[in-house]
């Protein structure tokens, strides 16, 4: 299980409706379901994963988050989760606005391209960075739009998206990101976890 799942679970209140966008094989959905009384749905693009989820009794639909979120009414979920897939979309800006339309709040996690090991890799080797969270080569990575924690902060700022909670994750340790420590966290965090609302 991804270490951020526990943090995500803490951000979600009980007795709520949650949509996991790009729910994979349903690990987070199962974790949330067991943990608290959450009515959780998922949408996933991979056929294999969808079949796995359905086999586990999870309410998952096969679909593409970039096209198929449109079927959900405005604010029909309390939370919409997007875990480490924002960077893989053709149009992340549109996806974020859809998340914030469908959900009253959204939880977005991003692999931080500002992480020092990523920067060091590019600086010293001069090739596209490969790390534990970014394991693919430039030619086969699904990631089209990498960004740093700072980029995401600026993105939200420009669009008047309220960053309700911002959490940095580094070696299983989590810490708050604030405007004052942003530059440091942007260097030390592997992953950023954001609870946002419009």
């Amino acid at each position: 299980m991804k270490p951020e799942f526990k943090i995500i679970a803490k951000l979600i209140e009980k007795n709520t409706r949650v949509l996991d966008v790009g729910c994979g094989d349903g690990t987070l959905m199962e974790f949330l379901k067991d943990d608290s009384k959450i009515d959780i749905r998922g949408i996933e693009i991979s056929k294999n994963n969808v079949q796995k989820c359905i086999g586990k009794g999870l309410t998952v639909i096969e679909g593409d988050a970039e096209k198929d979120l449109i079927q959900f009414p405005d604010r029909s979920f309390d939370y919409v989760i997007l875990s480490q897939t924002l960077q893989a979309f053709l149009n992340p800006e549109k996806v974020i606005s859809e998340l914030l339309r469908v959900g009253k709040k959204a939880i977005v996690t991003i692999p931080n391209f500002g992480y020092w090991k990523v920067r060091l890799h590019l600086l010293t080797k001069g090739t596209m960075p490969i790390t534990r969270t970014l394991p693919d080569e430039w030619y086969n990575t699904p990631n089209l739009h990498m960004c740093s924690i700072k980029d995401f902060f600026n993105f939200c700022d420009d669009r008047e998206i309220n960053l309700y909670k911002s959490i940095a994750l580094q070696n299983l340790k989590s810490s708050k990101i604030t405007n004052t420590n942003l530059t440091l966290k942007n260097l030390t965090a592997v992953l950023g976890i954001f609870l946002i609302e419009k």
């Binding site: 056929k47 079949q51 086999g55 586990k56 009794g57 309410t59 639909i61 009414p73």
Partner: protein, 372 residues
Amino acid sequence: MNKDVNIKTLKINKPLKLDCGQIINNFPLAYETYGVLNEKKDNAILIFHALTGDQFVSNVNPLTKKDGWWSYAVGSDKAIDTEKYFVICANVIGGCLGSFGPSNTNPETNKVFGITFPIITINDMVNAQFNLLDFFKIKKLFAVIGGSMGGMQVLQFVSNFPDKTKIAIPIACTSSHSAQNIAFNELGRQSIMADENWLNGNYSNQNKNPNKGLSVARMAAHITYLSKNGLQEKFGRKLQERDHLKFSFDADFQIESYLRYQGAVFVDRFDANSYLYITRAMDYFDLSKQYDGNLSKVFSKTKTKFLIISFTSDWLYPTSENKEIVIALNAIGADVAFAEIESDKGHDSFLLNVPKFLNTLKDYINISYLKD
């Protein structure tokens, strides 16, 4: 029909008002069951059959002596496990395997109904079968499941009886019959009616049978159940028991011979007028019509859990039409799961050995039974 075969029949005494306005009374509904209904009566699954199906879902069909039409999915330890569940399947009204249909004799005239039989709809079929719940004293079914026209009946069932099943699995179907599908059905009907032995539907009163028309209808329909790639892979341009073209209109190609065979075996087991009636029922199916085209409203009262399944190579009831049902259910926050299964076997995929489909079905059914 072979009179020696024991067909279970429920005589329905409750009058049924059909969509066409007529009321039918004291009519037979033929059914078959598999497995055992448990004491809590919470393990019953009602399966709806497709256009040319019947009540013999599993084991050996006593009439054709072939495997039941859904033997891949239904049986001991299969996706729909008859060791765990009590499976019921009825022949639709309008059909020709024991349920009230155009080949029955009209008691008022002592002649076979033929096309004087009332036009029936998917709604009528479902309402007739609902009597099975009373008969078995089942308050709530565990599941309603069906593919193609069976899937339409699943949707209609939940629409009519929002709290009478825990889960619903419509497979490879639609909520509204498309122009293309009406067109194919019309082709089949015209082929039957063009046969000189159809005699305006009166063939059985004169000991005739429109076999040519019915078999051409079946041949045309059969093509729509397969996919281009599936056909190409199985038959290509292979010749039938010959090394060279014969320069004639014989069945030179294997695909021709295959289709002729499909047509020929079909006429032995199916009534031409039933084919007219059932295809008509499919054409009339447009579930959201009474809700001004808003499909979500059809299901607004239901707490039933849905699993919707489509197949990549099904062009008769394509994924897009199945997805419309998913979208309508999501719009009202219903519990709906959806999977499109990869298969090159076309619309017929749901009837065949497609392991990914059967495994998904099996796991979902078993886990849904355990969950509240």
